[in-house]
Every structure is written in C-alpha cells, then in structure tokens.
C-alpha cells in the first residue's frame, strides 16, 4: 500500500470520525421526532463557542470545557423543543423544517451580532501536533474526536437500550400514540431527546474546537454534511451516523487526494442524491423511510 493512499485513508477515517461525532445528534432527533433539524450546525457552533470563551477567559482546555458545553446545549435544546418545536407536533413535517430554519437564521445572526463575523480558533499546545507512525501523520486532536465519536455512539446505544428514559424514547419513536397511552409524557420525552441530541452535538463542537475555524456562520455547512452522513448511514438508525460518517469521510478524502477538493464536495452531493434514489434506508439498509 503506498503512503499517499494510506495517508488519504487515515485522513478520511479521521474526518469520518469528526462527521460521525457531530451527526449522531441529528440522527437521534430525526429518528425519534421526524424533525430534520436545520439548526443543527448552530448547535455545533454554540458548543465550539462555549469552549472558545472558556478558553479565552479562563484558559480552560477545550476537553475540560466539553462538559460545560454539553450541559449548556442540553438546557438550550430542551427549552427549544419544549417551547417552540413541540408546538408543531402532529402538523405536517414541513412546519418543523421551516421552524428550525428560522431558528438557524436567528441563532446564527444573533451570534454575529454578539461576537462579530470574525474567524476564531483555539490554539492549544497540541493543536497542530501529529503522531508520526511509519511515515504517516495522525493529528492528535482529530484522533481524540474520532474516539469521542465511538464513545458517543456506544453511550447513546447504551442509554437507549438499557435505561428507563431510553426505553421511553424508543417507544415514542416507534409509535407516539401507543407510547402516550402507555403513560409516556411524549412532550417531555421529545424535549429530553432534543436536549440529548443537542448535548452530544455540543460535545462534538467542543472537542472539534482545537482544529476547526470557529465563527457564527460556520453552522450551515455542518448541517449539510450531517444531512449526507445520516442519509448514508440510514436515517434514524443510531450507529448509522458512524457508518455514514466514515464512508463519506473516506470518499471525500480519496477524491480530494486524487482529484481536487472542489470535486470532493460535488461527489458528496452526487452520492447523497443517488443514495436517496436507490437506497433511502442507508448503506446498511437499517434506516427508516418516511
């Protein structure tokens, strides 16, 4: 195996890990509520900014500020669902898309108002550091994110399968009417689910902050990638974000290495389109359809 290919593969897997980390919450929210959250990228942005300001003011390492980002985003997500998105339960799905798009505009532009459009970054001692093994570079910060993605996928699976709240969430996702009859307070479950999705997304924003550019307008791009990742993996299928993230990451990295970076974006959308047509249930065929 030649070094260029191996490096492209490693870059792809690490990129895929990053994708998986920030797409899991998107998949959770869609899977349970059918809400395509167009403000998803803003959750990442808020997570990254939480770490940024804690770093700026208290010199707190992003990995240490991650729990704060999680907590803050959980509260934010919980309130958004409880007071805004819950209002359109039972209405056509377009209502939730448009509503979250409105949120995207508001959150992003209020953030611009508060923090300006400047690009920021967090420079830590390990920000540019790589591990060099057999002539291949592995950036530490991305490796950590990759591990976080694995952990998040596992933790989410564990939570949904083994806890009381997790069971209630799964029941609600399967049939909200029956869940309601069984005594599940579905509005509360929805709020918790959105909070949870927001929290793990905030976590990803936080652990990504050492190596990404942070700006109030960063969100939309991430939302779009999360779309692709989740469709590839199978919408609403939790481990799907990991599968989709890795596949997309490797595909993009190979395309960028052997063609050019612009083509890799084009390929992303072509893959997404073809995937939806021929296999809307995702690569593993375990996603839900409508």
């Amino acid at each position: 195996m030649d070094t260029v290919f191996a490096q492209a593969l490693i870059n792809g897997l690490l990129l895929g890990g990053v994708y998986a980390a920030y797409s899991a919450g998107f998949s959770l929210i869609f899977g349970v509520m059918g809400v395509v959250n167009l403000a998803h990228g803003e959750l990442i942005m808020l997570g990254a900014f939480t770490s940024y300001w804690l770093f700026d003011f208290f010199n707190l390492d992003p990995y240490l500020s991650a729990p704060f980002a999680m907590f803050f985003l959980f509260v934010f997500g919980y309130l958004v669902q409880k007071y805004i998105i819950n209002q359109v339960i039972g209405q056509p799905h377009i209502m939730s898309y448009i509503l979250t798009f409105g949120l995207h505009l508001m959150v992003a532009n209020i953030a611009i108002k508060m923090w300006t459009q400047d690009f920021r970054s967090i420079t830590t001692t390990y920000s540019g550091a790589n591990a060099a093994i057999w002539g291949l570079n592995i950036p530490y910060a991305r490796l950590v994110t990759f591990i976080v993605a694995l952990f998040v996928t596992w933790a989410l699976w564990f939570f949904l399968m083994r806890t009381e709240t997790g069971r209630a969430i799964r029941a609600t996702a399967q049939d909200k009417e029956v869940a309601r009859l069984m005594g599940v307070d579905i509005r509360n479950i929805y709020a918790i689910t959105f909070g949870l999705g927001a929290a793990i997304t905030g976590l990803s924003g936080s652990v990504m902050s050492p190596f990404v550019i942070i700006s109030p307008e960063m969100g939309l791009e991430y939302t779009i990638i999360a779309f692709c990742v989740v469709v590839l993996g199978g919408m609403g299928y939790m481990p799907g974000a990991l599968v989709g993230g890795l596949v997309l990451g490797v595909a993009q990295s190979l395309a960028a290495t052997y063609l050019n970076a612009g083509v890799s974006v084009a390929i992303t959308f072509v893959i997404l389109f073809i995937m939806l047509i021929i296999r809307p249930t995702g690569i593993l065929g375990k996603g839900s359809v409508a």
Binding site: L103, M106, N109, K113, L272, F273
Partner: protein, 316 residues
C-alpha cells in the same frame, strides 16, 4: 357550486395586472420601477414553488436548481452560440423542464423529508458540478467560479419589466387553472391522501411530474431573464440556496396551496427586505428568522390560508 368569490378575485387580478402593465408609462423613478419589477419577479418565483410544493405537499428544497439551469442555458447559448435573447429564453425554460422531468421520475417516488433532501442534494450537486466541471475536464464551458459575462443588453429597466410581467402573469393564471381543473384536483388529492387518490383513479406519478416540470419551466425562464438583466452569473449566485429559502418563506407566509398566497407573501417580504434590508442590515436576518417562527406558531396556514379558514372562504 358557488365560484363567485373566485371569479371576482380573478377579475380583480386581471384588472390589476392590466393596470400594472401601464406602470412604466407613469412611474418616472427608476428606483421605483426596479422595485416593482423585483416584487413581480419574486411573486412569480414563489408562485413556481407553490405550484409544485404548495399544491402537492411535496416539499421541494432545491427549486433554485432550475433557476440556475435557466441562467446557465441562456448564458451559454448567448455567449458560446450567439443565440439571441428570446430564443435563449425559451430554450432555458425547455431544458429546465426536460431535466426536471428526468429528475422527477426517481425523486418524486420519495416521500416527506427524503424528497426534500434529494432535491436539495441535486441543487447543491449542480452548483458544485458547474463550479468544478471546467477545472476537472480541462474545458471552458461553465467557466466555474470565474462566472460568465453575458452580452450587455443595453435595455433599460422597463424592458425587463415587460419580460417578467407576462411570465408572472402566466404563472398566476396557471394557479387559477390548477384551482379549478381536473389536474388541480388531482394535485390536491395527492396532498391530502396519496393512496386514496391513487385508488380513486388519480395517476399520481404523471400529475406530480407535470406539476414539477411546469414549475421548472417557469423557473428556467426567470433564471434566464435574471442572467440577462444582471449580465454576470456565477454558480454560487444562481444556485444560491438563499433563493430556495426565499421562495419557501414567501409562499409559507402568504399561504401554501392558495392563489393569493405567493402574491401576498412575496410582496410583503420583498418590501420589508427593501425597507429594512438597506437600513438595518444586521437585524434583517434575525427578524426574518423571527417572522418565520412566529408565522409557523401563530399562522401555520399563512396569511391567506388563515383568512380562508376564518372567513370560511372556499377559495382564493
């Protein structure tokens, strides 16, 4: 059946359209004429989206792709093949419609969020392809991010006013036709309950395709007109997702699946963005976000849709 309200609205619409057609003779201010043209332009574009998504309930998140295709067909026809404007215009609509037909066949089988995402993906893919095509295949066709400069038209605003007005007029008449025709009842039945429509004899695939391709045809026309008007296009401009967003929000605000919805929504939002957008740029987008949220929560059927329910008007 009592269609009287509808007839009255149609007559008012025809009268206003006729009156508007004479505006360039009376409006002296170039700014005002341009503003009026922009309003009519957006009414038509929002109408294109409404024609498909408003009536069938299939939420298209990539209508801008046909606008962009129209722009590029016109630009390439005029610069590379020296085709005059009006034939290029027609070609733009035609090619948009043909592409929509072939894209519609696989995508219109998808439901709900899947259709929305597929159309969105197609639009973004076209944008990226037109950006990267030349560099990848070492040709000079789409001219990537350099963009294409069209021949300077030398026409004034009133020329474009008279290009846009008839198209918007036809788009709105098509709405009226949809409201009162077999085709329109088919679309509305699809929106309400697709399986029930199918077993009642509605050829759902054909009806959806027809609506999708018609909407694409008109969007192609608008794309071509705008390209000729501003004389310079790039993929990032003509395939800009912001245009899709505008169409959706205008229609939603006015009322999806109604005749007056796009007119009210597009006029309202264009005027707001014109008056606020220049003076309070920074707050404009925050406010649009707020308007969207408030509309969805308080007027989920839009301004016209809510009136329809409150006043028990059957159609408008």
């Amino acid at each position: 059946m009592n269609y009287r309200t509808d007839r009255i609205i149609l007559i008012i619409f025809l009268l206003i359209s006729t009156a508007v057609a004479f505006l360039p003779y009376f409006v002296q201010s170039e700014y005002l004429l341009r503003l009026i043209t922009v309003v009519i332009f957006w009414i038509g574009i929002a109408g294109c989206w409404n024609m498909m998504s408003g009536y069938t309930g299939y939420i298209d998140f990539g209508p801008v792709v046909y606008f962009g295709i129209g722009s590029y067909v016109a630009a390439i026809a005029m610069t590379k093949y020296m085709v005059p404007f009006f034939p290029s215009l027609f070609l733009s609509g035609l090619i948009s419609a043909v592409i929509a037909f072939f894209i519609g066949i696989p995508t219109l089988r998808l439901k709900g969020a899947y259709f929305a995402i597929a159309t969105f993906a197609f639009a973004e893919a076209m944008k990226q392809i037109s950006l990267e095509f030349d560099r990848t295949f070492k040709v000079s066709f789409f001219q990537g991010s350099d963009g294409i400069t069209l021949p300077i038209s030398g026409h004034d605003n009133s020329f474009f006013f008279y290009c846009i007005l008839p198209v918007t007029f036809v788009v709105m008449l098509t709405h009226y036709f949809i409201e009162h025709s077999k085709f329109g009842y088919g679309l509305k039945a699809i929106n309400e309950a697709e399986t029930a429509a199918e077993i009642s004899g509605v050829n759902t695939t054909a009806n959806k395709l027809r609506a999708y391709a018609t909407s694409a045809f008109f969007l192609g026309l608008y794309g071509a007109i705008e390209a000729y008007w501003i004389t310079y296009i790039t993929p990032s401009d003509v395939f800009n997702v912001q245009k899709t967003v505008q169409m959706v929000i205008m229609t939603l605000l006015g009322g999806m699946g109604t005749f007056l919805g796009p007119i009210v929504g597009a006029t309202f939002l264009t005027l707001i963005s014109e008056s606020l957008g220049t003076r309070f740029v920074e707050y404009y987008l925050i406010m649009i976000g707020g308007i969207i949220i408030v509309t969805i929560l308080i007027l989920p059927s839009g301004i016209i849709g809510t009136l329809k329910i409150r006043k028990r008007l059957r159609f408008i």
